[in-house]
Symmetry: C2
Subunit: 310 residues, 2 copies
Amino acid sequence: MKCRVCRGEAVIDVRRHNANFCVEHFVEQCERQVAKAIDAFSMLAPGERVLVAVSGGKDSLALWDLLIRLGHRAEGLYLGLGIGEYSDVSGDYARRFATERGLVLHEVDLRRDYGYDVPTAAAATRRVPCSACGLSKRHLFDEVARQGDFDVVATGHNLDDEAAVLFGNVLRWQTEYLARQLPVLPAGNGFPRKVKPLVRLSERETAAYCVVTGIDYQVDECPMAEGNRHLGYKDVLNDLEARSPGSKAAFLASFFSRGHEFFRDAAGGEQETLHRCAECGSPTTGEVCAFCALRARVVGDTPVTIGRKD
Amino acid sequence: MKCRVCRGEAVIDVRRHNANFCVEHFVEQCERQVAKAIDAFSMLAPGERVLVAVSGGKDSLALWDLLIRLGHRAEGLYLGLGIGEYSDVSGDYARRFATERGLVLHEVDLRRDYGYDVPTAAAATRRVPCSACGLSKRHLFDEVARQGDFDVVATGHNLDDEAAVLFGNVLRWQTEYLARQLPVLPAGNGFPRKVKPLVRLSERETAAYCVVTGIDYQVDECPMAEGNRHLGYKDVLNDLEARSPGSKAAFLASFFSRGHEFFRDAAGGEQETLHRCAECGSPTTGEVCAFCALRARVVGDTPVTIGRKD
């Protein structure tokens, strides 16, 4: 197996590009794919301050590493979700990555700073844990970005993640979600821009990137995500990809280039007037935002003075 | 296993409806699903003359049978495609069905009437056989409907067929095809209306319908369709359906109810002026229609006087 670029010994084959790469040129290929995504969707302008959502897994650490390599000003944010040993180990990986490279890692701990964690929130709301977890993450990424004057929040969603979400949205023709499913969500209404620079890299490639560049990461999947519908969609798409390499990337890319525009008008909600949440001050359509409502529900009548802003 | 309706012994379970049925109530269920589809999409008006595209397989014979049960004036059209023994046997099933029930079956034979068959057309065009076959079928259904003053052509595409085609169109976001993918295509430009009344029945159900009502049908798949991409899509969707019963029907139904409208403007081609094909007189944008162009290519410089219209 020879590297497509230098004909040296290859370490990885990327079937959808019908190419093999040595370590050096695989890293270059990953950089190029990220740069292409950033460029195609105008995700980042030179000099902007980027807050990377860091979980300690392969995607978020590869993303942070690649953004630094590409010359972006990227700091990390790790959220302690309180999911037992899984969270402890994930945090260690994130901290070690930052320390070894002299990068700035911000930290928020749900339990310490907000009085609850994902398992207790899931129990209190009687919904799947991913629901409370996603809500908390979105809120806190936004809040830390706002308080720290970051221009943009970058998340490590990869090609497989985005294709699976797209597949799920298409299966039920959730046109509002389809309208919003682009790898860049512009800033507005007090929310920072959100970008997904790994949208052209598969999860096999982000894992390989970490291995060949010596990034240690949390290998385990989140124990609370078991049975998550999107994992089933990934299996289905992987089956399709095995039959016909490239179909997953084509599905996602042709949605961006041809499909998405048809759903522009389905987004809705743009006309709603936002005001400040009575609890935390973040923009919301209600009196309190969904995050503060969740927290109140989980911690009961704990005074509102608890929390990070004290 | 008890019938949902009468609590008698059930012969089939329909997982997506979470129901079992005895023979009598399964037949009733199939009738109801077809009546619902006809009604929901205004496929047929009372008294209209329907031409059923009959292949001799389970879907087309079940369709013809169900239309007659529901009181529609339906005649059949069998096309001899010249695919060896497969076509011979298929024709026998179609003729026997019609004869036993005293129904009118029209017949066109590609070789006898037009001087070629699907295998020779595939060889001459160097494309997959399904391409020449589909083109020939569409043309001849239209032509026989026009000559016989039928109001509408009905085809036996079932839920699995339509879901697989939709999936294929979505995978590459072929928005022009998505714009046209409804179970009814209105008449216009000299073409008859086309309808797919089996769109609410899976292929397992049309097969069971034939078995319990004593319809003998061609069980073999077309030998030339092997490796057809849509068969792969069916596997993928069946996998999904096994994980989550009902997802296939929901995918298709929510496309019709929510997704399709977004693609209305993507159809294109409506403004093109049609005129009569110089060879056969059917509406076309070119000088000769695609069917006559195909035939000329396959049979070479055979005089245009050959063929059915002589």
